[in-house]
Assembly symmetry: C2
Homo-oligomer: 153 residues x 2
Amino acid sequence: MSRTERSADAVRAAARLAKVAGTALVEADLTLPQYRVLVFLDAGERPASHVAALLGVAPSTVTAAVDGLVARGLVERRADPADRRKVVLALTTAGRGALRRGDDVVAARLDRLLGFLEVDEAETVLVGLAHLNRAMERSLAERFGPPAGDPGP
Amino acid sequence: MSRTERSADAVRAAARLAKVAGTALVEADLTLPQYRVLVFLDAGERPASHVAALLGVAPSTVTAAVDGLVARGLVERRADPADRRKVVLALTTAGRGALRRGDDVVAARLDRLLGFLEVDEAETVLVGLAHLNRAMERSLAERFGPPAGDPGP
DNA sequence: TATTGTTATACTCTATAACTATA
DNA sequence: TATAGTTATAGAGTATAACAATA
């Protein structure tokens, strides 16, 4: 696979995946950034600064996304007793429900898309995406500890 | 891999890939939609309506992206003699050069990212992205013929 | 002084709707 | 009438900068 093809494939896939997922999430009343925050908080509560850094967006972007989630009771903002500058974000029970509905609509749309491939090709896509995320998490280095509430390995 | 993990992986990967590619493309003085148009036109010239449909964006989005490319002499707008409503978009020589520079900066950034993985894992990522694009192209059905100037199979 | 988060503001990408010109 | 493309406009997502509170 040439250098050119790799770049073109990556950009095409990213744009298309984002579009497909964003369209699907409308059915779950979630925007793409809101779903990303929910996914992230599912692993455990986190201060907003960690969410921003690990999602790779500006702090103000997290504020905007979370505002909508808090208004609908899907996420809670709690003061951190140890450092009162920090706002800890945590999923509510309703938030977990919303996340599952988001998972479902995206997975359904993804399944439909992968239906155009052979079974082993579809598997390669899913494994490849998982590897890609692992690479991105590693590239963020270990600047942040495990989330609170994470039982650990 | 659970349904939940698949959805979360897809959305995370899409957002991260788009960000990484967009940041890299700044070095090549291209925006993400401009690069997508260049990639598309590299296969052959096409009327703007085909570009919009196959990229999955509105016609006005193509107009906006192409305006910048035309201003810099990277893409030409030609009237279609057979149907004078149509505007055929074609890469110029300078456009091909800009596309190659875009390929290079994205590929370099992608290589750096995949360096966090084992060689076979990185290969799975690239093959997976290629399969994913194939699935998306198939899902668009065969509503459009091959691009002009395409030698074909 | 440095950090956390919010607010204010602007820019980019995208879509919808109205319009022009062709068919 | 229907289609191709542009223009005008609006909305979402994002970033930067200024600010308030806390460390």
